[in-house]
Amino acid sequence: MLNFSDLLPYTDLLLKGLWVTVELTVYATLGGVAIGTACAAGRHYGGRLLRGAIGAYVELIRNTPFIVQLFFIFFGLPALGIKLSAWEAGLIAMLINLGAYSTEIIRAGLAATPKGQVEAAKVLGLSANQAFFRVILIPAFEKIYPALTSQCIIVMLGSAVVSQISVMDLTYAANLIQSRNFRSFEAYSVVAAMYLLFAILMRQAFDALGRYLFRHRRSS
């Protein structure tokens, strides 16, 4: 009944799709965490207006489905004259999505830094920048690193939806294969296994990176 050998001729297609998913994930992770860091800092130190604007952005994104955000960007924005390719729209949706979630995660890390540490840094003569990076930001990242890792993986898995606007990612490859040979269950189970493997590898890569980044810090 099940026949996985029918998938063999499509190995190239699957690998190409996997590569698109990997690429999107890498860009979205780097950009999303950068957006999150900037917004978290803005929300922590900014004025009322900035704090309110960032808060609205975070809540709006966190309380609507990713697929609706994607459709809004891909179908809705061209009405305003902003034309985007499917790939660009997919990446932007992922960036905005991860940006909002990581803002909230990083903000929690910033808030968890005891005030006394900041005062101590000042007394020791650290400049404002030094104090922010060494005393506040890096320890905050260390605290929230596991949560951030999970969120990046969730965004990677969520990226399967970009196939719906014809980005040729891993899921798109599965859709294409099943439309040609009607082996839908086989195609989707193999692709699901590829996602699972990627998620596991991603977690290990993040763990390794975390051990490197925070190597000088005592473990608490």
Partner: protein, 216 residues
């Protein structure tokens, strides 16, 4: 071509949103029941059972919800069941929800001191008595906030049922868009309706977290 006024659009979207609510409730209640069963299995001291639960959680947390939907939809029809998009979505979302709730509840139970289990055993309570009278009342307080928070993920997850053709809020949005070519307005309305459903739950979750974290 049919003309749609703003009111027509909103009315049709709201009518479709009922199905989003029904699907969310089904998945959440079903997921909570399966999750409760899995959590209990995990607490028994049977290694193979614990492993099975762990693999189940890992698989559902490590694969896209969209793949789970496709696999249920196409897998069950392969087995000879004539399955509707509604049933496939309800089953897939129930399984997805159960895996996440099992993981959330595991974390909550693990925050309880081990001494509670040991004390119950010394007092001669059975496994079920320990869970019912000692663990559950405490764990529920801790679990309430993250559980309510996860219900937001369930509602958002139901949007994917549109891809296998179940007409809920998102699908209604794409259908109306195909008829009117006003994507900006329609998807903004769709997003707003989701927001109105999800935001109160997010707020409730935050409130509960503050309340119970303060109490402990």
């Amino acid at each position: 071509m049919i003309e749609f006024t703003n009111w027509d659009l909103l009315r049709n979207l709201l009518l479709a949103a009922r199905w989003t609510v029904v699907l969310s409730l089904t998945a959440f209640i079903g997921g909570a029941l399966v999750g409760l069963l899995l959590t209990t299995l995990r607490l028994t001291r049977r290694r193979p059972l614990q492993w099975l639960v762990r693999i189940y959680v890992e698989v559902f947390q490590g694969t896209p919800l969209l793949m789970q939907l496709f696999l249920v939809f196409f897998g069950l029809s392969l087995l000879g069941f004539d399955i509707s998009a509604w049933a496939a979505a309800a089953i897939a979302l129930t399984l997805f929800t159960s895996a996440f709730l099992t993981e959330i509840w595991r974390g909550c139970i693990d925050t309880l001191p081990k001494g509670q289990w040991e004390a119950s055993r010394c007092l001669g309570l059975s496994f079920m008595q320990t869970i019912k009278n000692v663990i559950l009342p405490q764990a529920v307080r801790v679990a309430l906030a993250p559980t309510v928070g996860f219900s937001v993920q369930v509602i958002k997850g139901t949007a994917l049922a549109s891809i296998i053709g179940f007409v809920e809020l998102t699908k209604a949005g794409t259908m109306l868009n195909n008829a009117t070519f006003e994507p900006f307005k329609i998807f903004a309305m769709v997003a707003l309706i989701y927001f109105l459903m999800c935001y109160p739950l997010s707020l409730a979750s935050q409130r509960l977290e503050k309340k119970f974290n303060g109490a402990r």
